[in-house]
């Protein structure tokens, strides 16, 4: 067994943003083992202060080009809670539909473009296109569907323009919905092929039990609103999110770390699966069985498998939502009215592709944002990634440094980290390093 191992992955590839994996094992004991986050802080919260509430969703959507609808939705829910807005049933249905479009887009990007190359033994999606063109073309078709669904509902592939506080400013026509329904039906073959492909991959068996946190709903596998659930048996209202996140600074990261009942917790598809798999649609449950995903699952690499399960679930849910909307008919609606009051606070939460996202705003009587706080999933996962790395490294010491490096990179990628989104605090100590 190797007594000394040094791994230094500078700017890990196939993740969003800049992070380094640093491992230093001397005489068989771990001196350093962490994911360094070196991305520049973003300061979106400061940007929001003094801005009218109705701009917030458009500004914060720019935090991320992948989960823009997620940020916009969490932002709208925060403002709507602060401004005592009651949403119509139609608004809720349309928001869910757009949310699914983005969930699909993000998961397809992650499992096909970022994860599959590791398993199919190619360095990136470009050689994958040469060796498995059918796989990449399928991914592109599925991504196009997702983007077009978002565009039909919120006006754009990314950065929704038609969602506003209290409702929508544009509504899909019956033809739009029928067209997307038809395409969703056609997509089912690609979804099946996706499950088939990912069912053949040798998922690493590394396992470390941790606390899993996700939004829970009494009767659905939901992504918007609900309660904050934990596998350690807690259920809290969204407004109590700070009790869960307990953000703290970490010397090796420009993003804050989080901890609830233990030293760290995990959010994202695997956490959602562990907490609410019984609410998945039947075909998604079958997919989970095919992928070897069994709740509770403590294998972090399986987060990507859980994303595949959510792809199946979301496509089936898109069909159900479109059917419901077609049956009800989509009517033009004014956004629901707001009530301004001094120092009103509201918290919005969504389970975006990478896990729970919180936005909290304080809005003055003049409609200007006085205070804002955004807590991003990747930030919540960072502490858990570090602890996984520390547990994983000792099991790999008999392998070559190249193999160790590859396994560690795959572990970090499994969390689908979105590093640029999570950085919003500059640790002064870090700068001089």
């Amino acid at each position: 067994m190797a007594e000394n191992v040094k791994v230094n992955v500078h700017h890990l590839t196939r993740v969003e943003g800049h992070g380094n994996i640093v491992v230093d094992v001397r005489d068989g004991s771990i001196e350093r083992c962490e994911l360094e986050i070196v991305e520049t802080p973003r300061f979106f919260e400061a940007m929001l202060r003094g801005r009218p509430y109705h701009q917030a969703s458009h500004i914060t959507s720019r935090i991320c080009g992948i989960c823009a609808i997620g940020h916009a939705t969490a932002s709208l829910r925060a403002s709507e809670r602060a401004l005592q807005v009651e949403l119509s049933e139609q608004t809720k249905l349309l928001r869910k539909l757009a949310f699914h479009g983005e969930m699909l887009d993000s998961h397809i990007l992650h499992v096909y473009m970022l994860i599959a190359p590791d398993f199919l033994d190619v360095g990136s999606v470009i050689p994958l296109a040469t060796s498995h063109p059918d796989v990449v073309l399928r991914a592109l078709r599925m991504k196009k569907f997702s983007g077009d669904l978002c565009e039909a509902i919120v006006g754009r592939h990314t950065h929704p323009i038609a969602m506003t506080v209290g409702g929508f400013t544009h509504f899909p026509s019956r033809e739009d919905l029928e067209r997307m329904r038809e395409r969703a039906v056609e997509l089912v073959a690609d979804v099946d092929a996706t499950v088939e492909l990912f069912g053949t991959l040798p998922w690493p068996t590394f396992e470390r039990e941790t606390e899993y946190v996700a939004l829970v709903h009494p009767d659905e596998y939901g992504f918007i609103d609900g309660m904050i659930g934990s596998t350690d048996g807690h259920e809290l209202p969204i407004s109590a999110y700070r009790t869960v996140t307990n953000e703290r600074l970490s010397p090796h990261s420009t993003a804050k770390h989080a901890a609830f009942n233990r030293d760290s917790y995990m959010v994202g598809a695997l956490a959602r699966y562990n907490l609410k798999h019984e609410h998945l649609h039947p075909r998604a449950k079958e997919a989970a069985a095919h992928l070897g995903l069994e709740a509770p699952c403590y294998r972090p690499y399986m987060n990507s498998a859980a994303q595949v399960v959510e792809i199946v679930h979301c496509v089936d849910d898109v069909l159900l939502l479109i059917d419901t909307l077609l049956e009800r008919g989509v009517e033009w609606e004014e956004p629901a009215p707001i009530t301004l009051s001094p120092g009103a606070r509201g918290v919005g939460a969504c389970d975006v592709p990478r896990g729970i996202l919180f936005h909290e705003y304080q809005i003055g009587e003049n409609g200007l944002i006085e205070e804002a706080n955004c807590i991003i999933p990747t930030g919540q996962n960072l502490g858990n990634i570090d602890l996984d790395l520390r547990a994983l490294v000792p099991t790999l010491l008999d392998q070559s440094e190249a193999e160790i490096t590859h396994k560690l990179e795959m572990l970090v990628r499994a969390y689908d980290p979105c590093i640029s989104c999570s950085t919003h605090f500059l640790d002064v100590e870090f700068v001089g390093k």
Binding site: V125, I126, A129, V136, L137, R141, K143, K144, H157
Partner: protein, 161 residues
Amino acid sequence: MARTLILGVGNPLMGDDAFGIRVVEALQGVELPSDVDVVDGGTQGLGLVLVMEPYHRVIIVDAVQMGLPAGTIRRFAWQDVQVNAGQVLSLHQSDLAAALTLAEALGVLPPEVVIFGVQPHNTEWDQPMSAAVEHALPVLVHSLIDEVRREDTYEPKSSDY
């Protein structure tokens, strides 16, 4: 189905990078052959693979760093560009280069891919287009119209039969 796609790409908020999008806007009022589509590709990345796929010929308009005087227009074939990738041509939109590379690897790149590049002066946020690039706009629009009215070189000729 149209055979030719004119694809303007770029970010209209970033100075001369607006060029491709401004060309798309300028073509809105122009009568083009019926087999020509004009699309605003914005800052899309890999999604462009499927946008381009159905066409026989794609003409891309973008700001391109070529080390030439600002406003200079150059016409390249994608195949020629690849040879010198990284030196002659560093597309401001690296996502476009990725899309073209991916399409090629997938074997779905249209047979004819032409790039009309303009040398930008300034691609900073929140700037207007520079005067030199503004002057290049009508020139390029004319060249484009000539290009799409030119006989398609891949069209089977009567002598082939």
